[in-house]
């Protein structure tokens, strides 16, 4: 009995002698006998052992708490790590989440969002039926009425003002099939005004990285980081944004003793796990990285052989890097000169190392330079194409990789073909429609090839505060699975909502958009979540996974495919649109695969993808390769490019140690075969050096991309896929074998250089490193650079404003703030403020403060006094919505859908600033002023 075994007050904290120890057989000395060779016990093995020991009663077959239930496999809808979910369904009801132990990446793990995935379906706050705003009040309407009215209005606008009067905001959260249909819809509608979350997330990554070596995606994989000897994270707070990825990062830290270097203006939760933390001034990534590159080159630590054989433009880049001495870097970034050298040495002495970056690096006016700098760093270290190395970009939403690949974007057709005539012709062939007919859908030929508005600035199409280059202003916007409070200068976006003739929101939740649009021009169409439909998605590791449908759409929601079908029917081109699509979604998978040859999406048939999903447990977590079983030899998810239906997928991009048929790949020959550099006059062969090619390659050295295997086509346009098969047969990559380039001659800054953010706190730095000239027609909007970068902003707005994530919420927060458990964990919007700053302003922890931006926005939030930020920085999480400039918008939500947690949207005060190449918003570095409320 417990009473007899009481600890008497006289004993100290040490255990009483008579008590049994946890492990009576293990004396202290035996500890040392434990073999060091065994790696830490994996979760799978551990759990099995624990389960066996713990079993109290054997559960009879068909017994248990939910007799007759079945397990449905799906993937979490929150982030791009794409953890497996096992849904237990009984009588069509999702009764509980089981542990997806055999998923090769997550192994049962979740963060708080994934652990409550079921709430997406059960939340009371789901939009239950179509709604229309009438006289300022929400009115429930039928689907037929909603679809009829919405399509009639859209067609009317198209008729009167042209197809470009509508802007489509598509989604990173829909399946590949749906994302593809969204892009196809815009094309058939006759506009390039379609964009989605990738624009404001990793657009600069895709542009910068693709322009360096061919593809703009994560080069290795999350699991591959287990083999890294060093992990360098810059602008990534993975502990909050990609929690389950940390499982593998920390494994490398433990087992490989890998230094974990975290570079961030904030001491984040990720920094808490770092072995080396570097606090950097927000917006100075390129300077810091070029400083590292400077040290690596000048100290002769760079991989000479790799550079000689697989890199182009090295001397030109070196001459630019020479400027970034440690002393100069210290002046710009605030990082001590000695520290720059030390970090460079660490990276040089711990190879292969991997570089991870996220929004902290991408969301800048020089984002497309930052991302290239990260690539060049890995190139000079020789960390590309090897296990444990790579540019491991952690994408955001669950299917942002897929939606990006499907180019739900205003500057390209699916699979990065672009908007040139050749691309349109290719896709018209895939769609089996007449090119001339397609041309006729557009206002004019010019607009068929012209990049459209972006997610970052579409609202200028309505408010026109900056001049637009489009024949008509925008009259309607459709948000299809996209939040609005994630776009900067939100107060301007809100103005646009109230100016438009029509706002359509298609989402499982109303989103802040529904509350912010206060006129009678809004329709809400409830679409179902990803658990109520099926399809494929592509994770950040380029892996394809299949989502099986868990339950039927709840309430009166409908899945996206149905809504698309209904709209397309009413638009009048259903017969053309669905020409080759009968079975949904599998026929869509086949069609998009057929057409997306550039990225090798053709090998991942729905059957193969499902087989991988059905056989999670056969994949090895270290190599991600199936060991026996139905998928034997294939890499999990058939990471693209997957050139044929026999190809196992490409787990590590640019790895020339493996034959192409087994997943190897050289750098893509995308930029021509030779180049004469403007900056030096030197001419260089852009193909890989002699002797450098994948094993079994017919040509042992560089070669251009394949063309004319079928006359008049190249590997990208040959729909018979003979070209791809021919290349593989000859042991060669269809896209050629070239060098990665350090000089991107089609970008304004050919080699990455530092430029101050538009709203910079350092007038002296502005003078030395000014921004670009104004850009008149940047995705149809006049975009200010030099005219916006004033040296005296800092006088009135002395603090640096930066934004970021919280683990509890995702994106605009509409879904996660409607989850009662997540909202309980983080009920309040807040601003992080350093204690010294707080004391200087007389602000105490928990008090309300006003934050104002130079562009006119202001918000009222709670102050959180913390050491995470330095004295000059204010941090805001951007997930909140439902309040606007001190006013609550709770009353604007349809009844019963107000999220549990409301707050100001950080983007009301994020500043004007856009990347020069992609128009990415500069939300990670701006200026603000604060005052007590």
């Amino acid at each position: 009995m417990a009473r007899k075994k009481l600890i008497t007050p006289s004993s100290t904290g040490s255990s009483p002698g008579a008590r049994m120890t946890l492990n009576p057989g293990m004396a202290r000395r035996s500890f040392l006998k434990l073999s060091a060779a065994t790696a830490a016990l994996t979760g799978a093995a551990m759990t099995t052992r624990m389960t066996t020991a713990a079993r109290a009663e054997t559960v009879k077959k068909g017994g248990g708490p939910y007799p007759g239930s079945k397990m449905v496999k799906t993937i979490c809808t929150h982030c791009s790590v794409a953890c497996g979910i096992k849904a237990e369904v009984q009588n069509g009801v999702w009764v509980r989440q089981e542990v997806a132990q055999d998923h090769p990446l997550s192994r049962g793990s979740h963060c708080c969002k994934g652990a409550s995935a079921i709430d997406m379906v059960t939340s009371e706050k789901r939009l239950k039926s179509p709604m229309k705003k009438v006289n300022g009040k929400w009115q429930k309407i039928s689907w037929k009425q909603a679809l009829d009215e919405v399509s009639a209005k859209l067609l009317d606008i198209r008729e009167k003002d042209g197809p470009d009067a509508v802007h489509w905001n598509g989604s990173a959260k829909v399946s590949n099939e749906m994302a593809y249909l969204q892009r196809k819809l815009a094309a058939f509608w006759g506009t390039n005004n379609i964009d989605h979350q990738a624009r404001i997330c990793h657009s600069t990554t895709v542009a910068g990285v693709a322009n360096t070596w061919g593809y703009g995606a994560m080069t290795n994989s999350v699991n591959d980081i287990r083999h890294s000897k060093l992990i360098f994270m810059i602008g990534s707070n993975a502990a909050e944004a990609h929690p389950v990825a940390l499982q593998h990062l920390l494994h490398a830290k433990e087992v490989n003793n890998a230094p974990l270097i975290v570079v961030d203006p904030r001491f984040t939760k990720t920094a808490a796990k770092a072995t080396d933390y570097v606090r950097i001034r927000s917006g100075t990534d390129t300077a810091f990285i070029m400083g590292l590159i400077h040290e690596i080159i000048e100290n002769d630590w760079y991989d000479k052989e790799f550079v000689r054989t697989r890199v182009a433009g090295f001397p030109e880049m070196r001459s630019v890097a020479r400027e970034y001495t440690p002393a100069k870097v210290e002046e710009v970034t605030g990082v001590a000169a000695a520290e720059v050298t030390r970090i460079a040495k660490l990276m040089a002495t711990h190879r292969p190392g991997t570089v991870v970056w996220c929004m902290g690096g991408t969301q800048h006016s020089i984002g497309s330079s930052n991302t290239r700098a990260y690539c060049i760093l890995q190139l000079v270290l020789g960390n590309m194409g090897v296990s444990g190395g790579g540019a491991n970009i952690f994408r955001g939403h669950d299917n942002v990789q897929g939606a990006t690949d499907m180019c739900v974007l205003s500057h390209s057709l699916p699979a990065y073909y672009g908007l040139k005539d050749g691309s349109w012709k290719h896709w018209c062939r895939v769609w089996d429609v007449d090119y001339e007919w397609m041309k006729s859908r557009f206002h004019s030929k010019e607009y068929m090839n012209k990049k459209g508005f972006t997610l970052g600035r579409w609202y200028e199409g309505a408010i026109q505060e900056d001049k637009i280059t489009q024949y008509t202003p925008l009259k309607a916007v459709v948000f299809w699975g996209c939040a609005s409070n994630s776009q900067s200068q939100y107060h301007k976006l809100k103005k646009a909502l109230d100016m438009l003739d029509l706002v359509v929101i298609i989402d499982p939740f109303p989103t802040m958009t529904a509350a912010a649009a206060e006129k009678d021009n809004v329709y809400l169409l409830p679409c179902s979540s990803q658990y109520e439909t099926s399809g494929s998605l592509t994770s950040t590791s380029r892996q394809f996974q299949w989502r099986y449908k868990v339950v039927d759409p709840v309430h009166d929601s409908r899945d996206d495919y149905w809504i698309m079908n209904e709209l397309v029917k009413r638009f009048g081109f259903a017969d053309k649109f669905y020409k080759n699509i009968k079975q949904v979604p599998e026929d869509i998978t086949r069609e998009l695969g057929r057409g997306s040859l550039t990225i090798g999406y053709n090998g991942q048939t729905p059957e193969r993808i499902k087989k991988h999903t059905d056989n999670w447990h056969t994949f090895d977590i270290d190599t991600m390769q199936a060991k026996g079983g139905p998928c034997n030899g294939e890499y999990y998810g058939l990471p693209w490019p997957c050139w044929t239906e026999e190809h196992p997928g490409t787990p590590i991009l640019y790895d020339i140690s493996k034959p192409v048929a087994k997943g190897g790949l050289p750098f893509r020959a995308r930029f021509g075969t030779s180049k004469t550099y403007d900056m030096s006059g030197r001419t260089e062969d852009l193909l890989a050096a002699k002797g450098v090619a994948n094993p079994g390659s017919e040509v042992m050295g560089g070669y251009p991309e394949f063309k004319d295997v079928v006359p008049g086509t190249n590997w990208k346009t040959d729909l018979s896929q003979k070209t791809l098969k021919e290349a593989i047969k000859r042991g060669m990559a269809p896209f050629g074998n070239a060098r990665a380039r350090c000089v991107v001659w089609n970008f304004p800054d050919q080699v990455p250089i530092h430029r101050e953010p538009l709203h910079s706190p350092r007038p002296d730095m502005i003078a030395k490193y000014p921004t670009y000239k104004d850009k008149p027609d940047h995705y149809r909007v006049f975009t200010r650079y030099r005219s916006e970068q004033k040296a005296d902003w800092v006088k009135k707005f002395p603090l640096i404003l930066t934004t970021g994530r919280m683990v509890e919420y995702m994106g605009g927060g509409a879904e996660t703030r409607s989850n009662k458990y997540l909202a309980e964990l983080a009920p309040h919007m807040y601003a992080e403020i350093n204690i010294v700053t707080a004391n200087n302003y007389g602000i105490r922890n928990g008090e309300q403060i006003w934050i104002e931006s130079p562009n006119g926005g202001k918000i009222k939030v709670m102050a959180k006094v913390t050491d995470r930020v330095d004295e000059q920085t204010i941090f805001l999480p951007f997930h909140f919505g439902g309040e606007f400039m001190g006013r609550s918008l709770a009353a604007n939500y349809p009844e019963g859908t107000v999220p549990y947690a409301l707050g100001e949207a950080a983007n009301v005060v994020t500043n004007y600033g856009y990347d020069i190449v992609t128009q990415m918003q500069e939300t990670k570095t701006g200026l603000c002023k604060i005052s007590k409320a």
């Binding site: 417990a2 009473r3 009481l6 600890i7 008497t8 007050p9």
Partner: protein, 290 residues
């Protein structure tokens, strides 16, 4: 009852009662959901007495684990036995009812006393129900006992506050109280010699102060236990205090029951009618000025 005469008692008690009702009615107080503005001052006051000490977890656990139960058991057995022995050996004192009885307790006093007596009895019973809960199966029975404990506490506090005001002057310690204590009020002998005591003897005074001040401390500590509106170490200290003081109060309650019901034959009538016999007053309250 002469309202005018008793006004200085009725008014404060009345105000207290209204305040208590308003306080109870306000949802904030009766929803103790952790530290909030209403509890911050409470915590601060506690801290004056309890300091900033940690380390009470082990002490509380071992005492609640075994000590308290034993103390209560001892008290519940030994105290009645001791006084049973007294009854057998020495027996009750008896006084004649000759002459005009002397008014001792007014109507208000008696009313408040019986209200206090009833609520105090309920407090003791329901408190012991918690202490020995496992012998009666716990569950809804004991849980409702806690609710009764709460209501009884409020009623007791109000009535005891009234009695406190009424009797304060007469309960103040006097030099003769020491003499009374030395002879244990004459209860150790069967003789009827005059005993040094005013309106109230030293024993009654001890009981008075224990029941009122002690009762107040019980209420205060009890509120902490009910609301949990304090840091956990303070709650533990209050729990220890509440239990130990309760043991003392239960012991003295039993003594008071004996003294007022059995030690003097018919003594209860003074609290029912308000009058004591002349002889009783002359002997037991020899210093009382009529």
């Amino acid at each position: 009852m002469n309202i005018k005469k008793n006004f200085r008692v009725i008014l404060p008690v009345g105000v207290l009662a209204l305040a208590a009702v308003a306080w109870a009615g306000s949802p904030q107080i009766l929803q103790p959901a952790g530290p909030g503005p209403s509890t911050a001052s409470f915590t601060a006051i506690n801290k004056v007495f309890t300091g900033d000490w940690q380390q009470y977890g082990q002490l509380f656990t071992s005492w609640q684990g075994g000590l308290f139960n034993r103390i209560f058991l001892l008290i519940l057995t030994i105290v009645p036995v001791v006084f049973l022995l007294h009854y057998i050996i020495i027996g009750a004192k008896s006084f004649s009812h000759a002459g005009t009885p002397i008014k001792f307790f007014g109507i208000l006093t008696r009313f408040l006393h019986w209200l206090a007596a009833l609520s105090f009895s309920l407090l003791v019973i329901t408190g012991l129900m918690v202490v020995f809960g496992k012998f009666i199966g716990g569950g809804p029975l004991v849980m409702s006992g806690r609710s009764v404990h709460l209501i009884a506490a409020i009623v007791f506090c109000l009535s005891a506050a009234g009695l406190f005001l009424i009797w304060l002057k007469d309960m103040l310690p006097m030099p003769h109280d020491i003499l009374w204590l030395l002879i244990m009020g004459g209860y150790l002998s069967k003789k009827k010699k005059p005993v040094p005591a005013g309106k109230f003897n030293a024993g009654q005074k001890v009981w008075f102060w224990l029941a009122t001040v002690g009762g107040g401390i019980m209420a205060w500590s009890g509120y902490t236990l009910y609301s949990f509106a304090a840091p956990v170490d303070q709650i533990r200290q209050m729990a220890i205090l509440h239990n130990l003081l309760a043991a003392g109060l239960v012991a003295f309650f039993i003594i008071h029951l004996y003294m007022s019901l059995f030690a003097v034959k018919g003594a209860i009538s003074s609290m029912l009618t308000g009058y004591k016999s002349r002889e009783e007053v002359a002997i037991m309250h020899s210093r009382y000025k009529i």
